[in-house]
Amino acid sequence: MSFRLLAVLPFIGILLGVPFVNRVEPLVLGMPLVLAWIVMWVVLTAAIMALVYRLDPANRAAAEGRTAEDRP
């Protein structure tokens, strides 16, 4: 159940984080800081969703081709 809370992180990082990093310097990987921050969160979001996918019991039974929530 608690793994769902992980999905809140991208919202916090992107929506609430941006005002605090709204600067150009220092450039990160050649990008303005605020752009680099958003890019970092895009990558982190993918990682977080991969973790959610791992932890979600709905995908565990899926190896047999049907998911746990699948109803006839």
Binding site: L27, P32, V34, V42, T45, M49, A50
Partner: protein, 494 residues
């Protein structure tokens, strides 16, 4: 004839061939035509849903936005990411319900969930009103691309007619299957082109990415960060717009419809972790736009959308301009074909069958949907040629329109749905009316609610509509509760 033009024509003909060939081996009944018989695997669903990101709006608009407005362009990267997080939980139940009830369209979903044909018809009308400007925007982009990259040999008017004809032919033949095959070609081409341009142009013109951003920051201080205030640019605008568009993302009827094409529901959960990375390609589109700010300065107004092609023409040989142009043509044709399939299905299945001829057979609806394809295409072409600048306003209105459907969709997925059809109907109607009035009268939150602190005045106006929608939805639902609270979420027999 220039080499650029030959390449563009060859790719367009190939798209036509692929689109028509896609029907081979499939009897094109309603379910095949609209949702590919619900047989698409991970790759196709992925591409159909990713196809939504790479339209001419992002290809031309993304670079143009970076070129003309700077930092606000970052929002495109942010909202799609959050939308994919939501999709992990939103799409599987939608898909399950759609499969169980053999749904072929978004209004169909509403009509069944809330057991109300009237609601389905209204959603269909809202959908069509939102889709037409979207189609117009694709055609407009197509005209710009072909006129620019053919070095004027083909006029933008001719390009729009030819493009619309190509899409009409393959949509009539293959429906969504034609779109699926063409998105494979489109995504491969666009991936290569955008990655190359985004890496090469900053290095070629500035030495490195860091040098480019330094140069821009020196020449135009403040261009690369969000300003403190200002409608459609400040941080508050960014936050509210990202949230609002993330909610609306999957409410577009053609995106909602591409959900139905999936073979199983795990596809969506898997895509939720891959799609955020995949759309990082947009970052390279931004780089192209930023590279153009100092190298091809002077484009203003609607012309900022030309920045990518101006810079390409200035930097490369004609044959490569042709490759970029061909990629651009596909970014218009593929989403255009999906929108066309969806709009025609909506008119035939939901407006005609829902309102006029309840007992129409599937065969008849399919026939009408196909007949509607050229009609919708011609209407869109006429709007494109005579619509003028109002189109951008219409598109913004379209996005805010479809977002109004979000509360009713989410409530209908709850195990015990307390929302009623009257509530959903009134909520959506109020939301859509507020969007239409505020857009047409160019009202902002600051003007509507002058007592708010300055920072909040930059909140996207769509939030006002969505808030009123939710309030009306809740009140009317509370007033129209059935006596026994039997959830409408229970399966309604067909």
């Amino acid at each position: 004839m220039s080499s650029a033009l030959i390449i563009i024509i060859a790719v367009t003909l190939f798209a036509l061939y692929l689109g028509i060939r896609a029907r081979r081996g499939h009897d094109m009944n309603l379910e095949q035509w609209t949702v590919g018989g619900r047989s698409f695997g991970t790759a196709f669903v992925f591409l159909l849903m990713a196809g939504e990101i790479y339209t001419t709006f992002t290809f031309l608009g993304g670079s143009g936005f970076a070129y003309g407005k700077g930092a606000p362009v970052y929002y495109i990267l942010a909202y799609a990411t959050l939308a994919y997080v939501l999709s992990y939980w939103l799409l599987p139940p939608v898909w399950r319900y759609a499969k169980a009830h053999r749904l072929v369209s978004q209004p169909h979903f509403f009509a069944r969930k809330y057991d109300s044909d009237a609601l389905g018809v209204m959603v269909a009308i809202v959908d069509v009103a939102a889709l037409i400007p979207y189609l117009v925007l694709q055609l407009k982009g197509l005209g710009i691309i072909v006129a620019t990259t053919s070095y004027g040999a083909i006029s933008s008017t001719a390009a729009i007619w030819i493009g619309a004809a190509v899409v009409t032919v393959y949509v009539m033949a293959s429906g969504v299957r034609g779109s699926a095959w063409n998105s494979v070609v489109k995504d491969l081409l666009i991936l290569g082109v955008v990655l190359f341009l985004g890496i090469y142009l900053p290095i070629h013109h500035y030495g490195s990415l860091g040098n480019m951003f330094h140069a821009i920051d020196t020449a135009r201080p403040g261009f690369l960060t969000f300003p403190d205030k200002g409608a459609s640019s400040s941080v508050v605008w960014f936050q509210s717009t990202v949230l609002l568009t993330a909610l609306g993302f999957f409410m577009w009827p053609h995106t909602f419809g591409s959900v139905f094409t999936a073979k199983d529901e795990r596809i969506f959960r898997r895509n939720a972790m891959v799609l955020p990375i995949y759309q990082l390609i947009l970052l390279f589109v931004f780089f192209v736009g930023f590279a153009a700010t100092l190298t091809v300065p002077g484009l203003t107004g609607g012309n900022i959308d030309l920045s990518l092609f101006r810079l390409t023409i200035q930097t490369f040989d004609p044959w490569f301009v042709g490759v970029v142009g061909a990629a651009g043509v596909l970014t218009a044709l593929v989403p255009g074909s999906m929108i066309l399939t969806t709009a025609s299905t909506l008119i035939a299945n939901d407006i005609y069958r829902g309102l006029l001829q309840r007992d129409a057979s599937d065969a008849r609806v399919t026939k009408l949907a196909r007949f509607m394809v050229p009609v919708v295409a011609v209407v869109a072409v006429l709007f494109t040629l005579h619509g003028g600048e109002t189109i951008v306003a219409l598109l913004l209105m379209g996005y805010n329109f479809v977002t109004q459907l979000f509360p009713a969709v989410v409530c209908s997925l709850a195990a015990r749905n307390r929302a009623t059809k009257q509530g959903a109907f009134c909520g959506i109607a109020v939301g859509v009316l507020v969007v239409a009035t505020t857009t047409i009268m160019h009202l902002s939150v600051g003007q509507l609610l002058p007592f708010l602190p300055d920072a909040l005045k930059d909140v996207n106006i769509g939030f006002v509509a969505l808030t009123l929608n939710v309030i009306v939805f809740a009140i009317v639902s509370a007033l129209t509760q059935p006596h026994a609270q039997a959830g409408q979420s229970r399966a309604q027999p067909r």
